[in-house]
Amino acid sequence: MSEAAANQASESYLSRGWRLRDWLFTTDHKRVAWLYTVSITAFFFLGGLAALVIRLELITPEGDVVSADAYNQLFTIHGVVMVWFFLIPSIPNTLGNFLLPLMVGAKDLAFPKLNIISWYIYTIGGVFTIAAVITSGVDTGWTFYTPYSTQYADRAVVAALTGVFVVGFSSILTGINFIVTTHKMRAPGLTWFRLPLFVWANYATSLVMVLATPVLSATLILLILERMLGIGIFDPALGGDPILFQHLFWFYSHPAVYIMILPGMGVVSELITCFSRKTVFGYHGMAISILAITVFGFLVWGHHMFVSGQSLYAGLMFSFFTFLVALPSAIKTFNWTATLYKGKLIFSAVMIYALSFVGLFTIGGFTGIFLASLAVDVHVHDTYFVVAHFHYIMVGGMVTAYLGGLHFWWPKMTGRMYPEIWAKVAALALFIGFNLTFFPQYLMGYAGMPRRYQTYPEDFQILHVMSSLGAGVLAIGYLLPLVYLLWSLRWGKRAPPNPWRAAGLEWRTDSPPPKHNFLEPQTVTGPPYDYDTIDNK
């Protein structure tokens, strides 16, 4: 190889190619990861803005900031954007896209062109939906329940459905890409039980994406056809059953919860083991739990329908399976705790995020067991208790893990260190703000405050004000990283290849990595997370 070519090969993926088309037509998984990061960040702040207006409205019992109609549209925007355009793609398409090939020692994903196409599909679908929702308004909530969505809601329902349908394809393409990459492109010696748990988690997530997303697509097609062509599959006048929509919808959307949380679990496993300087406790159990959650996750969807009119016997069955999912989730939580036990803990910002995740996920998971119980669910269904529960999983779990992971791998992705002190402040603001926002919602939900209402009895005002205050603190926890991470791109300290002394193939290459990730082919000779050896070197 000539010297010039060798130099070019060792250059970082960021050093060359800063024309617009070098980014928009790239097939480098690391650059696509950045494209996704920019898109999801934009969507996240848009969805967050909607939430902020909602919290502002709820400071007083009367409806005074926005009209009732606008309120309905706001929670729809918040739900649609956060679920479909942020939570689902967040970790897999940013960190996963960047890290999966690095962690398995590959040069790229198996299908780099599909990867960039998936970003286009995602962004175009997302922008289209947002445009439709903002210009004409949709008030169905993110779930599009029939018969409201098919027979009563007017305006841009079809446009919103089409956008979500289109974005589904980006999930499917990502899923296919990740599965094939994990199966076929692992470095020599990297057996399945030597894979980092982050790879396991993304692999399992991809399985869910591939098996569940098409059912959502089919369901949305049926909704669109019912609205546009009058082909009424869920129309009661033809003997149709609107509850059938919920079956099909939740067949996707419950497993989608695992699309959102499994990658977070993967991230946190990496963070905790690194900052405890200990190997993951019960690695095999962790990997198998991930698969168990994937499979069980498909058997429980009816727990969203306990009070819908679904048969009681079906309810019993779904309740039972839901309790079963708690098992592998608990195994994971116990194993994280056991990993911490007697570890040499380092309370860096990343670790604060990781520990927040474990605590908040545990509370969210615990209250999930309340909701899985048939009788209790009748009492708390459609109240703020449910809202608090899934925000503990989605924000307390997923978003915390995402931010933790973003900090942890930031040096790898950018070649720069972020300011640790500010990161600690942001992590703590997130933890405090989050709990202040959502813990009161458990209380008011249990006391009977229904979700999706613009006005409420005065008794709930104290709790609502606390929650809105918390939302303000939470906003700081989100805005701070945006500022100092961007700052670090230019002024941050240069990062060495492995600033955390972490295990894993991605730390063996430069920060940021060269275009083809590694200068020499990698081989793996030992188990993952071998921190004893690393620290005794």
């Binding site: 098996l211 009816g302 048969s311 016997y313």
Partner: protein
């Protein structure tokens, strides 16, 4: 061109099974005929999968993926049907299998003797 005989034979077999399936709907009415037709459909699908799509010679991993697809479809179908086997969506959307009392339209009554709200057509 090697291995032409196998797909041609599979094609012939498919047509025979298709004929059998269509004949069954004409000759055997009712559930047995329907079950036979569905059985024929599975055979026809297997013929295509094995001989035209190469599953016969594919590696095990691909077979596992094909099987997983079928398994997941089975999960969706079975668990959904658990609900519909237990209630009658025909006349009364919220009817449950253990309902005992019924009103004049044949819709079940709850324990207080009221028709369930969603069964009144409202």
């Amino acid at each position: 061109m090697r291995d032409v005989k196998a797909p041609v034979l599979a094609w012939g077999a498919y047509l025979i099974v298709l004929g059998g399936s269509v004949a069954a709907t004409k000759l055997v009415s009712g559930l047995m005929g329907h079950l036979f037709s569905l059985l024929c459909a599975s055979i026809m699908a297997s013929l295509i999968l094995s001989f035209f799509m190469g599953l016969r010679v594919a590696n095990n991993l691909l077979r596992v993926f094909a099987l997983a697809g079928v398994m997941w479809l089975a999960i969706m179908l079975t668990l959904t049907m658990v609900d519909y086997v237990m209630r009658d969506i025909g006349e009364c959307p919220n009817a449950q299998a253990d309902d005992v009392a019924r009103n004049a339209q044949g819709c079940p009554l709850d324990s207080a003797g009221n028709v369930r709200a969603s069964d009144t057509g409202a």
